[in-house]
Assembly symmetry: C2
Homo-oligomer: 223 residues x 2
C-alpha cells in the first residue's frame, strides 16, 4: 500500500544539519499492522509525517498505491491527507475552542463515508465527555478524542503516534483492541509508533529505528 524507497530527511538548523532520517526503505502492506519502535529522537515521528503527507522527504521516494507523493499537486495531497489517512498525533492537536464531539465532527466533514461521531466517542469510552472542551479533559481523555477523530474519518491508512502514551493499562488495552478490530474487521492498514512493548506482540511486523535508520525488522509468527 505504501512504499518508501531510500528516504532521507535533513533539517537545516542555521549552519547545523540534523539528519533525522538517514536512508529508510520500507514497504507497508495493505491490511497489516506495523509497529515502529526506537529511542527518543530516532526518527519515528518523521517517518509517520512523511507517510501521512504532512512532511516531505529530502531525498528518496514515497509511493501510495504506486503514486509518488512528491509528484502530487497540492489539491491531490490535500485529498490524500483528508480521505486516505487518519492521523493520531503525538500531541493530539485538538482544536481548543471546539468540544470533543465538534473536534470529531469537523474532521469528518468532507469525508466520503465517515462513521457516526457519537458512536466513535462511545467506542473510546467518552460518550459522557462529548461536550467538554480539550482543557476540561484529562490527558488520557484528550488522547482518546484524538484517536476517535482519526478513525471516524474511516480512512484506509491509520497512523498513530504513541496512541496509548497517556493511558493506563486497561484503557490502553481497549484502544489497542479497537485498532486490531479496525484491521481485522474493516481491513484497514495500521501503523503505530509506541514505546509500549505489549503492542509489539499484536502487530504483524515490528520495525526498530535507531539514529534515523531501520536496524531491525521482525515479522510476528502469530500476532
Amino acid at each position: 500500500l505504501v512504499k518508501m524507497v531510500d528516504v532521507t530527511k535533513t533539517f537545516q538548523m542555521g549552519e547545523v544539519e540534523v539528519r533525522a532520517l538517514a536512508g529508510v526503505s520500507l514497504d507497508i502492506f495493505a491490511g497489516e499492522m506495523v509497529v515502529m519502535v526506537g529511542p527518543s529522537g530516532s526518527g519515528k515521528t518523521t517517518i509517520l509525517n512523511i507517510v501521512g503527507g504532512l512532511d516531505s522527504a529530502s531525498s528518496g521516494d514515497v509511493y501510495y498505491r504506486d503514486i509518488d507523493l512528491a509528484g502530487m499537486s497540492d489539491r491531490e495531497l490535500t485529498r490524500y491527507r483528508r480521505n486516505e489517512v487518519g492521523f493520531v498525533f503525538q500531541f493530539y492537536n485538538l482544536v481548543p475552542n471546539l468540544t470533543a464531539l465538534e473536534n470529531v465532527l469537523v474532521a469528518t466533514e468532507l469525508v466520503r463515508e465517515p462513521m457516526d461521531a457519537h458512536e466513535v466517542l462511545d467506542l473510546v469510552g467518552l460518550a459522557d465527555r462529548a461536550d467538554h472542551f480539550p482543557a476540561q479533559l484529562s490527558g488520557g481523555e484528550q488522547q482518546r478524542v484524538a484517536i476517535a477523530r482519526a478513525i471516524a474519518k474511516n480512512p484506509e491508512l491509520v497512523l498513530c503516534d504513541e496512541p496509548t502514551g497517556a493511558l493506563d493499562y486497561r484503557t490502553g488495552k481497549s484502544v489497542l483492541g479497537l485498532l486490531v478490530r479496525l484491521k481485522r474487521e474493516l481491513g484497514k492498514t495500521i501503523v503505530v509508533i509506541t514505546h509500549n512493548a505489549e503492542i509489539g506482540h499484536i502487530a504483524d511486523r515490528v520495525v526498530r529505528l535507531s539514529s534515523g535508520a531501520i536496524v531491525e525488522l521482525v515479522a510476528n509468527e502469530r500476532p
Copy 2:
C-alpha cells in the same frame, strides 16, 4: 511536608457537575518518592495541580509545612509555586518561541539557588539540542526539556505528571534514575504520576486513585 485533608474538587459544566476528587486525604513526607497511579480520568492531575498551587480545592485543606495554601495571598502563592515546586506538566507547556536552553533559563530567573542550565540539559541527554525550539524537537526531547526546566529550579518538591510517557525504555530509565538521585542525594520530595508500573517499584509509596478517591496505599519494603 504536604498534607491534604478531605480535599474535594468539582468542575461546574453548565448544569452538570463533574466530581473530579471525591474526598482525598494524603500526607506526603519530606524526602520520599510517592507514585500515583490510576485509570485515565481518575483525578491524578487534579491532585497534582492542587498540591502545586496551580488549582484550588473546592473543599478541604492543603498544607505545605503546616501553612494552609488556601490562606496564602496571591504573592505568597506565587512565591510557593516559583521557589518550592518544580512541575513537569503532562503536556510539557514549553514556551514555543524560546529555545530549549531559554526555556530552562526563564524558569530559573527569580529562583534563589538554581542549577546551571547547560548542566541540567546535559543530565537529560539534550546538550546538543539546546538551540532547538520545541517545534524542532521530538516528543521525547520536549518532555526532557520540561523535566530539565522543573529540576533546574532546585525546588523542595518535584511534581511530575507522566514524566516518561513519551520516552523509550532506556531514556525513561535514565530519567527515573535522575529523579531517584534528586531524592537520595539532594533530599528532594518527589511525586510522580505514571502509567509505568516499573516506576512503582522504585517509589517509597504507591497511591492508587479511582474515580476521584484513594482506593489503595502501598508502602514498598525495599524500593
